[in-house]
Amino acid sequence: MSTLRYIDAIRTALDIELRRDPSVVALGEDVTYGGPFGATKGLADTYGTRIKDTPISEATVMGLTVGAALSGLRPVMEVMYIDFITLAMDQLVNHGAKLRYMTDGLLQVPMVIRAQGGARGSMGAHHSQSLEAWFAHVPGLTVVAPSTPADAQGLLQSAIRSDDPVLYLEHRGLYWQKGEVPDGDDAALVPIGRAIVRRAGSDVTIASWSHMMGAALAAADQLAADGIEAEVIDLRSLLPLDLDALLGSVGRTGRLVIAHEAVTQGGLGAEIAAQVQERAWAELAAPIARVGAPFVPPPFAPELERAFVPDVDAIVAAARRVLDTPSRAARPSPQSVEA
């Protein structure tokens, strides 16, 4: 085991896979320098031109990444802020995601798109979004969002080894958090499509991912002080979803709160809630609650940004609401909670 910061775990994953496989390359804006946060810092010293700086041309660099993946490489492209991926949606969605299907498997697109986001540091509406729901709506993509250094390394390694286009979502609020990561080329590997129970409990399930996992675990601690045992699930793979893990937990607790930093409206929480209620209606003792950001662009002022990001209190309040639901017979209307 080594103690690594989340951002170091990302670099370690790149380092291992670059060393293991000569077809792996990393490209993006300022990646030889390390980018604004240093995720790729120093890799060019070891891997030379396989660490490739690109012009600020997201649309074309995304297509270049797809084309490289079609031609024998396993490219890892960094999108500096996920907000800029809007420029590259044609190549990601129309080409990267669809080429395997459109050609019935004659072609495959083994690429990884690393993109960081989240509202942190008052960077405003063009540098702060959480956009996972867009990508989880696209057949052909894989979407992962690690919350710990171990998963940051393990999921990135698995993403690079995947034969599909993987969107690997980082949250810059996690970059400096430390955690234990297994040593070795394969020891940290985390399978895509598997959730993990971070805290066991029997009263209510809280499902979350990425940075919001910290708030979810803190909420569970607060609830425990009142004798409420929350089970906290880190979904970490958003497409495909580990529905079995979620249904197993809901089967134990009968209650579900889904917490994410993205806006609640049209967020992934809606899809997860729909899938769970379709399959576990009989086990649900209360309507599923969602916790997400209000339906506004990410604001700039620190006071506004703090109010925008869902917090521990919002998750605790949602959990108490679903626990307070008296019975199925009352047929309460679904609840939606905004920060």
């Binding site: 041309s57 270049l64 084309g67 129309n94 080429l99 019935d104």
Partner: protein
């Protein structure tokens, strides 16, 4: 006249493309093919001149009007027609269709339904060969309508900046969808854009397949010698509408008549002195297309069993 090493082979392939596209048009008119078809009748000289300058390992990416490019590279006419007709035995099992054909084993990688969407793909393919050292050139064929997109300019910039082994082949047929190039840009010769980025560029008569081949060979030689990308603008004309069924009222009939006089096949026959050989070459091509048609129409339709397969690698049955 420019001499070419394999004039009969080029002629036969142009006839094959012509016969294939005419057959596709007939089948579409008889409702035996569904969808949105873009034919390149009249532009065969570019596809064949291009293909005859490449090696099998080179990777060509076509646009939405790409049947000619796939056939020029050696795609099987029967499997291609099956794909266009939505048959299970088509190249893509009927999942792709006319705008998403693929025959990667021939060096025709795939096509795109998004104008200019293929340019970054070819750029990435050329970049990949610089990493892997496989010696393959990236090659992309696109129309004049692509010249006004961001991807076009961004790709020219990166190809020049990185010195990538890439051929840009602009098939300038004078019309972007339903309007003339002059309605899209003040720049008459798109090759000028390449010069801005420091890429050697040439404008050729695209209906002169031998001239296209000569330009391609220059570009291929440059790229293989490490000299970076080349831009070829081939001036041509589509004798059909933008899509099958397009009434084409945006063009003068006299213009169409003028271009029929410049038919690339007749031009090649005359230039290469193939008057004696051409009728038999055409007959062979039409026989191949007849056989492909019989095979395609007898082939099983795309299977609903396959609707959910090949979305991801993990979902492969």
């Amino acid at each position: 006249m420019t001499s070419v090493p394999d004039p009969l082979g080029m002629l036969e392939r142009m006839w094959l493309i012509r016969a294939f596209e005419e057959r596709v048009s007939e089948l579409y008119a008889r409702n035996q093919i569904a969808g949105l078809l873009h034919l390149g009748i009249g532009q065969e000289g570019v596809a064949v001149g291009l293909a005859w300058g490449l090696e099998p390992r080179d990777r060509l990416f076509g646009g939405h009007r790409a049947h000619a490019h796939a056939l020029a590279r050696g795609a099987d006419p029967a499997r291609l027609l099956m794909e266009i007709a939505g048959r299970a035995t088509g190249y893509c099992g009927g999942k792709g269709g006319t705008m998403h054909i693929a025959a990667p084993e021939t060096g025709f990688v795939t096509a795109t339904g998004v104008v200019a969407g293929n340019i970054p793909l070819a750029l990435g393919s050329a970049y990949a060969s610089t990493v892997s050292g496989d010696g393959a050139l990236g090659v992309v064929a696109f129309g004049d309508g692509a010249g006004q997109t961001g991807s076009f300019h961004e790709s020219l910039n990166i190809a020049a900046l990185w010195g990538l082994p890439l051929l840009f082949v602009c098939e300038n047929n004078g019309y972007a969808e339903f309007s003339p190039l002059s309605a899209h840009t003040k720049v008459e010769r798109l090759a000028r854009h390449a010069e801005t980025y420091g890429i050697p560029a040439v404008t050729v008569d695209g209906n002169d397949a031998a001239a296209v081949l000569a330009a391609v060979r220059d570009g291929v030689d440059r790229a293989r010698a490490g000299g970076g990308p080349t831009f070829i603008e081939a001036l041509t004309y589509r004798l059909r509408g933008h899509y099958e069924g397009d009434p084409g009222k945006y063009r003068e009939l006299s213009e169409l008549a003028d271009w029929k006089q410049k038919d690339p096949i007749a031009r090649f026959v005359a230039d290469q002195g193939l008057e004696a050989e051409s009728p038999a070459a055409e007959a062979r091509a039409r026989a191949i297309v007849d056989a492909a048609t019989d095979a395609a129409l007898a082939a099983p339709h795309a299977s609903v069993d396959q609707l959910r397969t090949q979305v991801t690698a993990e979902a492969v049955a």
